[in-house]
Every structure is written in structure tokens, then in C-alpha cells.
């Protein structure tokens, strides 16, 4: 359990708070690339602040606070021009760096525009996502994690959840929940609703372990019937500090992204790359994205798929879970480790240091440790995953299954 003050500090996202200042040291995805190709401006909310995100006809991205510095009208309704974004109200024009370039109603001889500036975020595109940085300059490098740059077939499920992102991150260092929430509970729902639950998720955890490393925390597990020689322990998979988790298995590589939109709203994204060997990948001029369901038509949580179960557990903890009345056990040591890591990194920022995972030397690709043979389930995991996880809602779900089956057949044929 935590004190009320500690819980308050841990769950803040606002500028000027220790946690808010820590979170402002990282890049976040704020839109899909295709969105600004379809229409060049959109409203974006990040860490409790509202922005206008835009792409100029020359292909430059910009992100400015939504309220125009002039009279506070929304720049998210602005006119995108070659040099930047023009306010729809009185035509003030701002460059992508926030410089005020034009104030049409003011006299030419005034230097008023030189005394006005919008505080601009920095924006980059990577892997079908638009990323923004709203912290102090100079901005660190945007991490080019393996899933965002690797070859394969991309697929992004997403939704917005009404809860604080920390309780979602705590789930990322809680291996035991898998055998219950995605095992026993899944079987219970399957029995009552008439579908097959994947057996591999219900395997009993014999041992769990956590190691801090340069990008966060590596989570390890030994499930019944497996050993420390198996991928789940030997390699594990990481919580990528402060808001991602890298998972994978059976040629499916995934980053689970949890963007703190504001204190009680989290954008949950499942950025998935299907990358089986021995098969050609189709061209993807745009990365497909689709919204995954949280609730059914009766307003109850949709719990007939893996992430639906996770979302039920996260959201039903409340908008900000009350950690003053929780009961942690020894199996929750990963949770205590993560909270300590948040606190350590807040302290680093307060001392003027870069926190964990902020780096300033460009790297073409950052490979993260991630098991291949998930839950000791072998190749069948890919089909189970598509059938009973968020990919089932993908417009390309059938094509993805065919891709994995075709790759499997090709590999068998090649092996003779």
C-alpha cells in the first residue's frame, strides 16, 4: 500500500508535478500517419494538455497548443498553409517552431508579432505513427524500437480507456495475472459463452523474476512444464519505461503502448508486426488501424478476448486506483519495483539528469529482448493469438492467419 500523498504523486501527469516533469522527457504517439494524410490537422491531447497537430503541404509536421496566443480560439480548426498554421479567428500565422509569422490585422510597422510565440512541440513520423515531444529542449532521440522499423505486416488496434496509465503499467510487471485473468477466467467465460479458450494462457506460474535494464524492467516467468532454459525465463520480455511493454511470440512482435492522454484517460495501442519467415509480405501504403471494443451493448466489459480482459481489470480499479487500501503480496514485487523506478527517475529529473530510456545518440534500430516461444506453446500461439486477442477485430485478421499458415507450410516444405 501507499500513502495518499504517494499515490497522488505517482498518478499526476500535469506540468510542474514530479511525475508530469518525468513524463515530459519522452516521445509519445499522438496520431496515425494516415490521419494527417486524410486531413492535415487534428486536435491532440497529451499529458493533460490540448494541441493542434498538423502537416504542411511541404510535409513538415507541427504541434502547437490548441489555444491561440491571441484570443484563445482553437488552432485545431486552423488553416494549414505552406509555412505553418493560421488561426481561423483572426488569421495569426505560426510556424512549426511556434514563431508568429503574421498578424494580418496589425500594422506592418509594429513588432508585436516578434513578442508573441506559441510553445511548440516537436514532431516526427515513425512506423505509421506521428510522435510528439513536449518537454524541455533539446529533445532526446525518438527511440527506433525494433517493432517500429522491422519488416512484416503491421496492424494497430487501439482504444481510449477511462483510467490512469500507471495502473495499466503495473499490470505489465504482474505475470501471475495471466494464468487467472487469461486462464481460469477465460475458461469460465468460454464455458458459459460457448467458445474455446486458448489453453496456453492458463499454465501455472512456477517462478517469476524481474531485472532492471537500460530500457526498463525485464519480466521473466517459468510456467508449469517449462524450465529456466525456456524463452519465457531465459529471455523474458520488457516493460519499456515509462509507458510501453514489448511482447511477442510465434513470429508476432508487439509493442503495447499506454499513452497518458490526461490523468484519467489512457490511449491503449497494440502495435503489432506479423513477421513469419519464408513468406512475402504484402505492401502496406498505410498501416491499418482499428478501434477495439471495451464494452458490449449492455455497458458491460467485453471479456471474450485477452486485451478485453486486461482492460476490464484496469478500468474497474477506478479512474485512479486507491493504493492506500490495497493488499500487496509477495507476488506483487514487480509492482513495487516499478513504483520505486518511477520515484528514482522523478528524482533524477529533479536533479537535472536524463531519466531512464532517454538517449541522445541516434541509433538506427533498438532491439529489445523478447521471447519467441511464448508460454512454451510453439507455433500454434500465432493462430490462438489472432483468434482470441485484439487482432480478431482487425480488418485483415483472416489475411494474417493465412500469412502465418502459409509461412508454416513453406517452412515445412523447405525442411523436406
Amino acid at each position: 500500500m501507499l500513502t495518499a500523498e504517494q499515490n497522488e504523486e505517482l498518478t499526476q501527469v500535469a506540468a510542474g508535478t514530479p511525475m508530469g516533469e518525468l513524463l515530459r522527457r519522452y516521445w509519445y504517439p499522438v496520431a496515425f500517419t494516415r490521419e494527417l494524410e486524410e486531413f492535415p490537422i487534428k486536435a491532440a491531447r497529451l499529458l493533460g494538455e490540448d494541441f493542434a497537430l498538423f502537416k504542411t503541404p511541404r510535409g513538415r509536421y507541427g504541434m502547437l497548443p490548441q489555444a491561440c496566443p491571441h484570443r484563445r480560439a482553437s488552432l485545431a480548426y486552423g488553416v494549414v498553409e505552406a509555412d505553418g498554421l493560421r488561426c481561423p479567428y483572426h488569421g495569426w500565422l505560426f510556424g512549426t517552431d511556434g514563431t508568429c509569422l503574421d498578424q494580418p490585422a496589425e500594422r506592418e510597422e509594429t513588432n508585436f508579432r516578434d513578442r508573441v510565440r506559441a510553445v511548440a512541440g516537436q514532431v516526427q513520423e515513425l512506423g505509421g505513427l506521428i510522435w510528439a515531444y513536449i518537454g524541455p529542449s533539446p529533445a532526446p532521440e525518438l527511440p527506433r524500437f525494433d517493432v517500429f522499423v522491422m519488416d512484416g505486416v503491421r496492424d494497430i488496434g487501439w482504444t481510449d480507456l477511462p483510467c490512469n496509465f500507471v495502473q495499466i503499467m503495473e499490470n505489465a510487471v504482474d505475470p501471475h495475472h495471466t494464468e487467472w485473468l487469461h486462464g481460469r477466467f477465460f475458461e469460465f467465460m468460454a464455458r458459459h459463452q460457448g467458445f474455446d479458450a486458448p489453453a496456453s494462457f492458463g499454465k501455472k506460474h512456477v517462478k517469476v523474476g524481474f531485472d532492471a535494464f537500460e530500457w526498463g524492467i525485464i519480466k521473466r516467468r517459468v510456467v508449469e512444464g517449462a524450465s529456466e532454459e525456456d524463452d519465457d525465463w531465459r529471455i523474458g520480455h520488457p516493460l519499456v519505461f515509462p509507458y510501453n511493454m514489448r511482447v511477442g511470440g510465434a513470429n508476432i512482435e508487439q509493442m503495447q503502448i499506454r499513452v497518458p492522454i490526461d490523468r484519467t484517460t489512457t490511449r491503449f495501442m497494440l502495435y503489432t508486426v506479423h513477421a513469419p519467415a519464408g513468406v512475402e509480405y504484402p505492401d502496406q501504403p498505410q498501416v491499418p488501424d482499428y478501434q477495439i471494443p471495451v464494452f458490449d451493448e449492455n455497458g458491460r466489459h467485453r471479456v471474450d478476448y485477452v486485451e478485453g480482459q486486461d482492460m476490464m481489470a484496469w478500468v474497474t480499479q477506478g479512474p485512479i486506483t486507491d493504493r492506500t487500501v490495497e493488499h500487496l503480496g509477495r507476488s506483487d514485487v514487480g509492482v513495487t519495483m516499478l513504483r520505486r523506478m518511477f520515484k528514482e527517475q522523478m528524482a533524477r529529473v529533479s536533479r537535472g539528469e536524463d531519466p531512464l530510456g532517454v538517449y541522445r545518440d541516434f541509433r538506427e534500430r533498438i532491439d529489445l529482448p523478447c521471447e519467441k516461444n511464448k508460454f512454451d506453446a510453439g507455433g500454434s500461439f500465432a493462430i490462438q493469438f489472432i483468434d482470441r486477442a485484439s487482432s480478431r477485430f482487425s480488418p485483415q485478421a483472416d489475411a494474417l492467419k493465412k500469412l502465418h499458415i502459409k509461412a508454416h507450410e513453406n517452412q515445412k516444405a523447405a525442411a523436406g
Binding site: T3, E5, T324, L328, R330
Partner: protein, 95 residues
């Protein structure tokens, strides 16, 4: 530190009703847990709790009869576990 926290944590709390009744019985007991949490860093003696002006973090978890406080001190970076043990055991139990 040889208190018997397991028993103390449960005594009386279930039968008392108070302003927290709609949140269940545990909040009545939470005050005791807050009181038992280490207040100062074993390394540099700085306050750990935010309420005392400290920059530390103390997270309590339970294992058997023991209560474990995972501590971090933001003043000196010391980190470690402080255990309120009900019993001192000579050999570690097989897990």
C-alpha cells in the same frame, strides 16, 4: 522489530463501523499500516514520506506473517526492504 502484525492487523477492525464503511473494512485498518511504515532513511536519516517533506517511497507488501516495506530514499538513493517479522527463522523455507 518483532511485532505480531498479522494478528494486530485484523483485531477489531471488522466489527467497527466508521465513516469509511462504504469502502469496506480495510480503510479503518489502513491508518495502522501507515503508522508502522518506516519514516526515515536508514542510510541518511532523511524523511521518507512526502507528508514529512521527504522524497522517498515506501510500498508495503505482505508475505506470510511478515510485512515488508520496500523503501527508496530520494535524498541519497538508498533502496532496500525493511521487514517487520513476526518470527526469526533460522533456515529459509522451501518455496
Amino acid at each position: 522489530m518483532t511485532a505480531s502484525p498479522g494478528a494486530a492487523a485484523w483485531n477489531g477492525a471488522l466489527t467497527r463501523a466508521g465513516p469509511d464503511i462504504h469502502r469496506g473494512w480495510f480503510p479503518l485498518d489502513a491508518e495502522r499500516h501507515r503508522r508502522d511504515a518506516p519514516q526515515y532513511c536508514p542510510g541518511c536519516a532523511a524523511a521518507l514520506s512526502l507528508a514529512e517533506g521527504g522524497q522517498g517511497l515506501v510500498t508495503e507488501y505482505w508475505t506470510g506473517q511478515d510485512r515488508v516495506f520496500v523503501c527508496y530514499c530520494g535524498a541519497c538513493d538508498w533502496s532496500g526492504d525493511i521487514v517487520l517479522a513476526a518470527r526469526v527463522i533460522g533456515h529459509e523455507a522451501e518455496e
